[in-house]
Protein backbone atom coordinates (compact mmCIF):
# COMPACT_ATOMS: atom_id res chain seq x y z
CA UNK A 1 0.00 0.00 0.00
CA UNK A 2 1.13 3.48 -0.82
CA UNK A 3 -0.50 6.74 0.22
CA UNK A 4 -1.27 8.81 -2.85
CA UNK A 5 -3.13 12.03 -3.54
CA UNK A 6 -5.91 12.03 -6.10
CA UNK A 7 -7.57 15.22 -7.30
CA UNK A 8 -11.23 14.36 -7.84
CA UNK A 9 -13.64 17.18 -8.71
CA UNK A 10 -11.09 19.75 -7.47
CA UNK A 11 -10.85 18.12 -4.07
CA UNK A 12 -7.64 16.34 -3.07
CA UNK A 13 -8.11 12.97 -1.40
CA UNK A 14 -5.28 11.15 0.33
CA UNK A 15 -5.86 7.46 -0.26
CA UNK A 16 -3.89 4.27 0.36
CA UNK A 17 -3.68 2.28 -2.89
CA UNK A 18 -2.07 -0.85 -4.23
CA UNK A 19 -0.60 -0.64 -7.75
CA UNK A 20 -3.22 -3.17 -8.84
CA UNK A 21 -6.19 -1.04 -7.70
CA UNK A 22 -8.35 0.14 -10.57
CA UNK A 23 -9.50 3.73 -10.64
CA UNK A 24 -13.19 2.76 -10.71
CA UNK A 25 -12.86 0.72 -7.50
CA UNK A 26 -10.87 3.43 -5.73
CA UNK A 27 -13.42 6.12 -6.66
CA UNK A 28 -16.38 3.96 -5.62
CA UNK A 29 -15.07 2.09 -2.60
CA UNK A 30 -12.21 4.10 -1.10
CA UNK A 31 -13.41 7.62 -1.89
CA UNK A 32 -17.08 6.66 -1.68
CA UNK A 33 -18.28 8.44 -4.82
CA UNK A 34 -20.62 5.83 -6.25
CA UNK A 35 -21.94 7.86 -9.19
CA UNK A 36 -19.33 6.27 -11.41
CA UNK A 37 -20.68 2.85 -12.44
CA UNK A 38 -18.93 -0.40 -13.19
CA UNK A 39 -20.59 -2.43 -15.91
CA UNK A 40 -18.53 -4.77 -18.05
CA UNK A 41 -15.13 -4.10 -16.49
CA UNK A 42 -13.47 -4.53 -19.87
CA UNK A 43 -13.74 -1.28 -21.74
CA UNK A 44 -16.84 -2.05 -23.76
CA UNK A 45 -19.79 -0.35 -22.05
CA UNK A 46 -18.57 3.11 -20.98
CA UNK A 47 -20.50 3.10 -17.67
CA UNK A 48 -17.23 3.78 -15.82
CA UNK A 49 -16.29 6.82 -17.95
CA UNK A 50 -14.63 9.66 -16.02
CA UNK A 51 -12.72 12.66 -17.33
CA UNK A 52 -8.99 12.86 -16.77
CA UNK A 53 -7.65 16.32 -17.58
CA UNK A 54 -10.90 16.82 -19.52
CA UNK A 55 -10.52 13.68 -21.65
CA UNK A 56 -13.01 10.78 -21.29
CA UNK A 57 -11.34 7.57 -20.16
CA UNK A 58 -12.49 4.19 -18.88
CA UNK A 59 -11.80 3.94 -15.15
CA UNK A 60 -12.28 0.14 -15.19
CA UNK A 61 -9.06 -0.27 -17.19
CA UNK A 62 -7.07 2.56 -15.60
CA UNK A 63 -4.72 2.04 -12.66
CA UNK A 64 -5.46 4.52 -9.87
CA UNK A 65 -1.74 4.91 -9.22
CA UNK A 66 -1.26 6.23 -12.76
CA UNK A 67 -3.54 9.21 -12.02
CA UNK A 68 -1.16 11.07 -9.70
CA UNK A 69 -1.08 14.78 -10.46
CA UNK A 70 -4.04 14.57 -12.85
CA UNK A 71 -7.47 16.16 -12.60
CA UNK A 72 -10.22 13.56 -12.36
CA UNK A 73 -13.85 14.62 -12.91
CA UNK A 74 -16.80 12.41 -12.03
CA UNK A 75 -20.55 12.92 -12.26
CA UNK A 76 -20.58 14.25 -8.67
CA UNK A 77 -18.60 17.27 -9.85
CA UNK A 78 -21.08 18.34 -12.54
CA UNK A 79 -23.63 20.31 -10.48
CA UNK A 80 -22.56 23.70 -9.07
CA UNK A 81 -21.96 24.41 -5.36
CA UNK A 82 -25.62 25.29 -4.80
CA UNK A 83 -26.62 21.93 -6.21
CA UNK A 84 -28.01 23.29 -9.48
CA UNK A 85 -27.72 20.62 -12.14
CA UNK A 86 -25.34 21.20 -15.05
CA UNK A 87 -27.28 22.06 -18.26
CA UNK A 88 -26.44 18.64 -19.71
CA UNK A 89 -27.85 16.92 -16.61
CA UNK A 90 -30.95 19.13 -16.72
CA UNK A 91 -31.45 18.36 -20.42
CA UNK A 92 -31.25 14.61 -19.70
CA UNK A 93 -34.00 15.03 -17.09
CA UNK A 94 -36.15 17.25 -19.31
CA UNK A 95 -35.91 15.00 -22.37
CA UNK A 96 -36.53 11.68 -20.64
CA UNK A 97 -33.00 10.54 -21.47
CA UNK A 98 -32.69 8.69 -18.15
CA UNK A 99 -34.45 5.40 -17.53
CA UNK A 100 -32.65 2.99 -15.22
CA UNK A 101 -29.81 5.52 -15.06
CA UNK A 102 -26.93 3.07 -15.08
CA UNK A 103 -25.39 4.47 -18.27
CA UNK A 104 -26.22 8.08 -17.41
CA UNK A 105 -23.10 9.25 -15.52
CA UNK A 106 -20.80 7.93 -18.25
CA UNK A 107 -23.07 9.24 -20.99
CA UNK A 108 -23.13 12.74 -19.44
CA UNK A 109 -19.36 12.84 -19.01
CA UNK A 110 -18.85 11.78 -22.65
CA UNK A 111 -21.28 14.53 -23.65
CA UNK A 112 -19.44 17.08 -21.50
CA UNK A 113 -16.10 16.18 -23.08
CA UNK A 114 -17.69 16.66 -26.51
CA UNK A 115 -19.34 20.02 -25.77
CA UNK A 116 -16.19 21.39 -24.11
CA UNK A 117 -14.37 20.79 -27.41
CA UNK A 118 -17.17 21.32 -29.88
CA UNK A 119 -19.96 23.53 -28.48
CA UNK A 120 -22.45 22.99 -31.33
CA UNK A 121 -21.93 19.45 -32.65
CA UNK A 122 -23.95 17.83 -35.44
CA UNK A 123 -26.15 14.83 -34.66
CA UNK A 124 -23.53 12.59 -36.25
CA UNK A 125 -20.81 14.08 -34.05
CA UNK A 126 -22.98 13.50 -30.99
CA UNK A 127 -23.56 9.88 -31.99
CA UNK A 128 -19.86 9.32 -32.56
CA UNK A 129 -19.02 10.86 -29.19
CA UNK A 130 -21.25 8.40 -27.31
CA UNK A 131 -20.42 5.36 -29.44
CA UNK A 132 -18.47 3.95 -26.49
CA UNK A 133 -21.40 4.31 -24.06
CA UNK A 134 -23.97 1.55 -24.13
CA UNK A 135 -27.56 2.17 -23.01
CA UNK A 136 -29.85 -0.83 -22.59
CA UNK A 137 -32.99 1.25 -21.93
CA UNK A 138 -33.57 4.42 -23.91
CA UNK A 139 -32.74 3.49 -27.49
CA UNK A 140 -30.37 6.50 -27.58
CA UNK A 141 -32.81 8.86 -29.37
CA UNK A 142 -33.67 10.85 -26.29
CA UNK A 143 -30.05 10.95 -25.22
CA UNK A 144 -29.01 12.47 -28.54
CA UNK A 145 -31.89 14.97 -28.28
CA UNK A 146 -30.85 15.91 -24.75
CA UNK A 147 -27.25 16.52 -25.77
CA UNK A 148 -28.38 18.65 -28.76
CA UNK A 149 -30.65 20.68 -26.51
CA UNK A 150 -27.92 21.13 -23.88
CA UNK A 151 -25.51 22.31 -26.57
CA UNK A 152 -27.97 25.00 -27.70
CA UNK A 153 -28.73 25.98 -24.12
CA UNK A 154 -25.06 26.33 -23.18
CA UNK A 155 -24.16 28.24 -26.37
CA UNK A 156 -26.99 30.74 -26.12
CA UNK A 157 -26.28 31.13 -22.42
CA UNK A 158 -22.75 32.19 -23.22
CA UNK A 159 -23.90 34.78 -25.74
CA UNK A 160 -26.11 36.44 -23.12
Amino acid sequence: MKLIQLDINNQVYEIPVNPRDLLVDVIRKKVGLTGTKKGCGQGDCGACTVLINGVPVLSCITLAISCLGKKISTIEGMADEQGNLHPIQQAFVDHGAVQCGFCTPGMILSAKALLDQNPLPSVLEIKRSISGNICRCTGYKKIVEAISAAAKEISTGEVK
Binding site: P19, L22, G43, G46, I61, T62, L63, S66, G132
Partner: protein
Protein backbone atom coordinates in the same frame (compact mmCIF):
# COMPACT_ATOMS: atom_id res chain seq x y z
CA UNK B 1 -12.07 -9.36 -12.17
CA UNK B 2 -9.26 -8.09 -9.99
CA UNK B 3 -5.64 -7.86 -10.98
CA UNK B 4 -2.80 -9.85 -9.44
CA UNK B 5 -0.14 -8.11 -7.33
CA UNK B 6 2.65 -6.37 -9.22
CA UNK B 7 5.09 -3.51 -8.78
CA UNK B 8 4.56 -0.29 -10.69
CA UNK B 9 7.21 2.03 -12.10
CA UNK B 10 6.63 5.32 -13.87
CA UNK B 11 9.93 6.47 -15.41
CA UNK B 12 10.14 10.12 -16.49
CA UNK B 13 12.97 9.80 -19.00
CA UNK B 14 13.88 7.34 -21.76
CA UNK B 15 17.14 6.42 -19.98
CA UNK B 16 15.22 5.53 -16.83
CA UNK B 17 12.80 3.41 -18.89
CA UNK B 18 15.64 1.56 -20.66
CA UNK B 19 17.38 0.99 -17.32
CA UNK B 20 14.24 -0.53 -15.80
CA UNK B 21 13.43 -2.77 -18.73
CA UNK B 22 17.09 -3.82 -18.97
CA UNK B 23 17.09 -4.82 -15.32
CA UNK B 24 13.60 -6.38 -15.08
CA UNK B 25 13.53 -7.92 -18.57
CA UNK B 26 11.04 -10.71 -19.12
CA UNK B 27 9.38 -10.20 -15.73
CA UNK B 28 8.23 -6.75 -16.78
CA UNK B 29 5.67 -5.44 -19.27
CA UNK B 30 5.49 -1.98 -20.73
CA UNK B 31 2.20 -0.25 -19.85
CA UNK B 32 1.06 2.25 -22.49
CA UNK B 33 -2.71 2.80 -22.75
CA UNK B 34 -3.46 -0.48 -21.00
CA UNK B 35 -6.44 -1.17 -23.26
CA UNK B 36 -5.01 -4.55 -24.25
CA UNK B 37 -2.59 -5.23 -21.42
CA UNK B 38 -4.96 -4.67 -18.47
CA UNK B 39 -7.65 -6.78 -20.14
CA UNK B 40 -5.16 -9.63 -20.59
CA UNK B 41 -4.08 -9.23 -16.96
CA UNK B 42 -7.70 -9.31 -15.79
CA UNK B 43 -8.13 -12.58 -17.68
CA UNK B 44 -4.85 -13.83 -16.12
CA UNK B 45 -3.49 -14.45 -19.60
CA UNK B 46 -0.51 -12.34 -18.52
CA UNK B 47 0.78 -11.91 -14.97
CA UNK B 48 3.87 -9.68 -15.15
CA UNK B 49 5.70 -8.98 -11.89
CA UNK B 50 6.46 -5.40 -12.89
CA UNK B 51 4.72 -2.78 -15.00
CA UNK B 52 6.71 0.04 -16.55
CA UNK B 53 4.31 2.91 -17.35
CA UNK B 54 5.88 4.88 -20.21
CA UNK B 55 3.24 7.61 -20.45
CA UNK B 56 5.38 10.10 -18.51
CA UNK B 57 8.33 9.91 -20.90
CA UNK B 58 8.28 12.95 -23.24
CA UNK B 59 10.62 11.30 -25.80
CA UNK B 60 7.95 8.68 -26.56
CA UNK B 61 5.23 11.27 -27.19
CA UNK B 62 4.02 13.34 -30.07
CA UNK B 63 4.12 13.77 -33.83
CA UNK B 64 6.89 15.72 -35.55
CA UNK B 65 7.67 16.34 -39.19
CA UNK B 66 10.94 16.96 -40.96
CA UNK B 67 10.67 18.02 -44.60
CA UNK B 68 12.14 15.43 -46.99
CA UNK B 69 12.76 12.97 -44.12
CA UNK B 70 9.27 12.20 -43.03
CA UNK B 71 7.26 12.03 -39.86
CA UNK B 72 8.21 10.67 -36.47
CA UNK B 73 5.46 9.44 -34.15
CA UNK B 74 6.33 8.60 -30.55
CA UNK B 75 5.22 5.07 -29.61
CA UNK B 76 3.17 6.34 -26.64
CA UNK B 77 1.24 8.84 -28.77
CA UNK B 78 -2.48 8.41 -28.27
CA UNK B 79 -4.62 7.19 -31.17
CA UNK B 80 -6.84 10.27 -30.62
CA UNK B 81 -3.88 12.59 -31.22
CA UNK B 82 -3.17 10.79 -34.50
CA UNK B 83 -6.85 10.91 -35.48
CA UNK B 84 -6.96 14.69 -34.94
CA UNK B 85 -3.55 15.58 -36.38
CA UNK B 86 -3.92 17.73 -39.52
CA UNK B 87 -0.44 16.64 -40.62
CA UNK B 88 -1.40 12.95 -40.52
CA UNK B 89 -4.67 13.67 -42.30
CA UNK B 90 -2.93 15.56 -45.08
CA UNK B 91 0.03 13.24 -45.67
CA UNK B 92 -1.01 9.80 -44.42
CA UNK B 93 -4.74 9.71 -45.03
CA UNK B 94 -5.06 5.93 -44.57
CA UNK B 95 -3.63 6.18 -41.04
CA UNK B 96 -5.95 9.08 -40.23
CA UNK B 97 -8.94 6.99 -41.32
CA UNK B 98 -7.87 3.91 -39.37
CA UNK B 99 -7.15 5.91 -36.18
CA UNK B 100 -10.69 7.28 -36.27
CA UNK B 101 -12.13 3.74 -36.44
CA UNK B 102 -10.28 2.21 -33.48
CA UNK B 103 -12.66 1.49 -30.58
CA UNK B 104 -14.59 4.40 -29.04
CA UNK B 105 -13.70 7.98 -28.07
CA UNK B 106 -12.59 6.69 -24.66
CA UNK B 107 -10.50 3.86 -26.12
CA UNK B 108 -8.85 6.23 -28.61
CA UNK B 109 -7.96 8.68 -25.87
CA UNK B 110 -6.24 5.89 -23.91
CA UNK B 111 -4.78 3.55 -26.55
CA UNK B 112 -1.42 4.25 -28.17
CA UNK B 113 -0.03 3.55 -31.62
CA UNK B 114 2.84 1.55 -30.11
CA UNK B 115 0.45 -0.65 -28.15
CA UNK B 116 -1.54 -1.46 -31.28
CA UNK B 117 1.57 -2.79 -33.08
CA UNK B 118 3.12 -4.46 -30.01
CA UNK B 119 -0.10 -6.32 -29.18
CA UNK B 120 0.08 -7.58 -32.79
CA UNK B 121 -3.53 -8.67 -33.14
CA UNK B 122 -4.22 -9.87 -36.71
CA UNK B 123 -7.31 -7.60 -36.68
CA UNK B 124 -5.42 -4.48 -35.54
CA UNK B 125 -6.59 -1.24 -37.03
CA UNK B 126 -3.42 0.81 -37.51
CA UNK B 127 -0.89 -1.84 -38.53
CA UNK B 128 -2.43 -2.30 -41.98
CA UNK B 129 -2.13 1.37 -43.06
CA UNK B 130 1.25 1.74 -41.32
CA UNK B 131 2.67 -1.15 -43.36
CA UNK B 132 1.13 0.27 -46.56
CA UNK B 133 2.73 3.65 -45.81
CA UNK B 134 6.16 2.06 -45.35
CA UNK B 135 6.43 2.68 -41.59
CA UNK B 136 9.53 1.63 -39.68
CA UNK B 137 9.71 1.03 -35.94
CA UNK B 138 12.61 2.06 -33.74
CA UNK B 139 13.43 -0.53 -31.08
CA UNK B 140 15.39 1.03 -28.27
CA UNK B 141 17.26 -0.24 -25.20
CA UNK B 142 20.28 0.56 -23.05
CA UNK B 143 22.41 -0.92 -25.81
CA UNK B 144 21.16 1.50 -28.47
CA UNK B 145 18.58 1.56 -31.24
CA UNK B 146 17.68 -0.61 -34.19
CA UNK B 147 15.24 0.03 -36.96
CA UNK B 148 12.88 -2.49 -38.56
CA UNK B 149 10.18 -2.18 -41.20
CA UNK B 150 6.88 -2.72 -39.35
CA UNK B 151 6.08 -5.70 -41.58
CA UNK B 152 9.22 -7.44 -40.27
CA UNK B 153 8.57 -6.38 -36.66
CA UNK B 154 5.19 -8.13 -36.57
CA UNK B 155 5.83 -11.86 -36.81
CA UNK B 156 2.35 -13.29 -36.33
CA UNK B 157 -0.66 -13.38 -34.01
CA UNK B 158 0.60 -11.61 -30.83
CA UNK B 159 4.20 -12.23 -31.86
CA UNK B 160 6.75 -9.50 -32.53
CA UNK B 161 10.50 -9.15 -32.93
CA UNK B 162 10.69 -7.11 -29.68
CA UNK B 163 13.68 -8.19 -27.59
CA UNK B 164 13.35 -8.86 -23.86
CA UNK B 165 15.17 -5.64 -22.91
CA UNK B 166 13.75 -3.46 -25.67
CA UNK B 167 10.78 -1.23 -26.13
CA UNK B 168 9.39 0.50 -29.19
CA UNK B 169 10.29 4.18 -28.97
CA UNK B 170 9.09 5.62 -32.27
CA UNK B 171 7.55 5.06 -35.66
CA UNK B 172 9.03 6.69 -38.76
CA UNK B 173 6.85 7.34 -41.79
CA UNK B 174 8.62 8.29 -45.03
CA UNK B 175 7.69 11.51 -46.80
CA UNK B 176 4.88 10.62 -49.23
CA UNK B 177 5.93 10.61 -52.90
CA UNK B 178 4.59 13.38 -55.17
CA UNK B 179 1.31 12.37 -56.81
CA UNK B 180 0.53 9.70 -54.25
CA UNK B 181 -2.49 8.92 -52.12
CA UNK B 182 -3.43 6.37 -49.49
CA UNK B 183 -6.74 5.15 -48.17
CA UNK B 184 -8.13 2.62 -45.69
CA UNK B 185 -11.29 0.55 -45.51
CA UNK B 186 -12.76 -2.02 -43.15
CA UNK B 187 -15.69 -4.36 -42.86
CA UNK B 188 -17.26 -5.32 -39.55
CA UNK B 189 -20.59 -6.42 -38.17
CA UNK B 190 -21.58 -2.95 -36.98
CA UNK B 191 -20.24 0.57 -37.41
CA UNK B 192 -18.94 1.54 -34.00
CA UNK B 193 -16.82 -0.34 -31.44
CA UNK B 194 -16.20 -3.25 -33.73
CA UNK B 195 -13.12 -5.36 -34.26
CA UNK B 196 -12.64 -5.65 -38.02
CA UNK B 197 -13.55 -8.80 -39.93
CA UNK B 198 -11.32 -7.54 -42.74
CA UNK B 199 -9.40 -4.32 -43.23
CA UNK B 200 -7.22 -3.03 -46.04
CA UNK B 201 -5.01 -0.10 -46.98
CA UNK B 202 -3.78 1.02 -50.40
CA UNK B 203 -0.88 3.42 -51.02
CA UNK B 204 -0.58 4.39 -54.67
CA UNK B 205 1.95 6.56 -56.54
CA UNK B 206 1.38 7.88 -60.06
CA UNK B 207 4.10 8.74 -62.56
CA UNK B 208 5.04 12.41 -62.52
CA UNK B 209 3.12 13.06 -65.72
CA UNK B 210 0.29 10.98 -67.00
CA UNK B 211 -2.02 8.48 -65.34
CA UNK B 212 0.17 5.41 -65.12
CA UNK B 213 0.77 3.77 -61.75
CA UNK B 214 4.41 3.99 -60.70
CA UNK B 215 4.26 2.21 -57.35
CA UNK B 216 1.56 0.54 -55.34
CA UNK B 217 1.24 -1.21 -52.01
CA UNK B 218 -1.92 -3.05 -51.02
CA UNK B 219 -2.02 -4.50 -47.49
CA UNK B 220 -4.74 -6.71 -46.02
CA UNK B 221 -5.54 -7.11 -42.33
CA UNK B 222 -7.41 -9.82 -40.45
CA UNK B 223 -7.01 -12.34 -43.29
CA UNK B 224 -3.66 -13.79 -42.15
CA UNK B 225 -1.70 -13.99 -38.86
CA UNK B 226 -0.02 -10.65 -39.72
CA UNK B 227 -0.55 -7.78 -42.18
CA UNK B 228 -0.45 -9.35 -45.63
CA UNK B 229 1.36 -7.37 -48.34
CA UNK B 230 0.03 -8.24 -51.78
CA UNK B 231 2.66 -9.21 -54.34
CA UNK B 232 0.27 -9.88 -57.20
CA UNK B 233 -1.69 -6.63 -57.20
CA UNK B 234 1.35 -4.40 -57.88
CA UNK B 235 2.53 -6.89 -60.53
CA UNK B 236 -0.80 -6.46 -62.32
CA UNK B 237 -1.14 -2.68 -61.98
CA UNK B 238 2.28 -1.00 -61.94
CA UNK B 239 3.09 0.57 -65.31
CA UNK B 240 -0.57 0.79 -66.30
CA UNK B 241 -3.44 3.19 -66.06
CA UNK B 242 -6.26 1.93 -63.89
CA UNK B 243 -9.08 0.36 -65.93
CA UNK B 244 -12.17 -1.59 -64.90
CA UNK B 245 -10.64 -4.77 -66.32
CA UNK B 246 -7.39 -4.37 -64.40
CA UNK B 247 -9.18 -3.54 -61.15
CA UNK B 248 -11.27 -6.68 -61.53
CA UNK B 249 -8.16 -8.76 -62.16
CA UNK B 250 -6.29 -7.16 -59.24
CA UNK B 251 -9.20 -7.61 -56.81
CA UNK B 252 -9.47 -11.29 -57.72
CA UNK B 253 -5.73 -11.70 -57.27
CA UNK B 254 -5.93 -10.14 -53.78
CA UNK B 255 -8.72 -12.61 -52.92
CA UNK B 256 -6.48 -15.46 -53.99
CA UNK B 257 -3.63 -14.26 -51.81
CA UNK B 258 -5.72 -13.83 -48.64
CA UNK B 259 -5.49 -16.70 -46.14
CA UNK B 260 -8.49 -16.04 -43.92
CA UNK B 261 -9.84 -18.29 -41.18
CA UNK B 262 -13.40 -18.65 -39.89
CA UNK B 263 -14.01 -17.32 -36.38
CA UNK B 264 -16.68 -15.58 -34.31
CA UNK B 265 -16.47 -12.45 -36.44
CA UNK B 266 -16.82 -13.92 -39.92
CA UNK B 267 -16.40 -17.03 -42.06
CA UNK B 268 -13.33 -17.46 -44.22
CA UNK B 269 -15.55 -17.38 -47.29
CA UNK B 270 -17.12 -14.04 -46.34
CA UNK B 271 -13.73 -12.56 -45.54
CA UNK B 272 -12.40 -13.56 -48.96
CA UNK B 273 -15.39 -11.96 -50.64
CA UNK B 274 -14.84 -8.77 -48.63
CA UNK B 275 -11.20 -8.63 -49.73
CA UNK B 276 -12.52 -8.43 -53.30
CA UNK B 277 -15.00 -5.67 -52.37
CA UNK B 278 -12.46 -3.59 -50.44
CA UNK B 279 -9.73 -3.99 -53.07
CA UNK B 280 -12.00 -2.66 -55.83
CA UNK B 281 -13.27 0.18 -53.67
CA UNK B 282 -9.86 1.30 -52.41
CA UNK B 283 -8.02 1.01 -55.73
CA UNK B 284 -10.47 3.40 -57.39
CA UNK B 285 -10.40 5.74 -54.39
CA UNK B 286 -6.61 5.90 -54.21
CA UNK B 287 -6.24 6.28 -58.00
CA UNK B 288 -8.71 9.17 -58.10
CA UNK B 289 -7.20 10.85 -55.04
CA UNK B 290 -3.64 10.59 -56.42
CA UNK B 291 -4.63 12.47 -59.56
CA UNK B 292 -5.79 15.39 -57.47
CA UNK B 293 -2.54 15.99 -55.57
Amino acid sequence: MYLHEFEYYAPMTAEEAFGLIGRLGSNAKVLAGGTDLLLMMKEKMLTPQYLIDINGVPEFQGISYEPAKGTVIGAATKIAEIEHSSLIKEKYFALHQAAGELGSVQVRSMATIGGNSCHASPAAETTTPLVALGAKVLLASDAGERELPLEDFILGNRKTALGEKELVSRFILPEPAPRSASCYGHIGLRNAMEIDAVNMAVNLVLEVSGRKIKELKLVMGSVAPKPLVSLEVPAILVGHELSDDLVEKAALAACGEAKPISDIRASAEYRREMVYVLARRLLYQAFNAAQEV
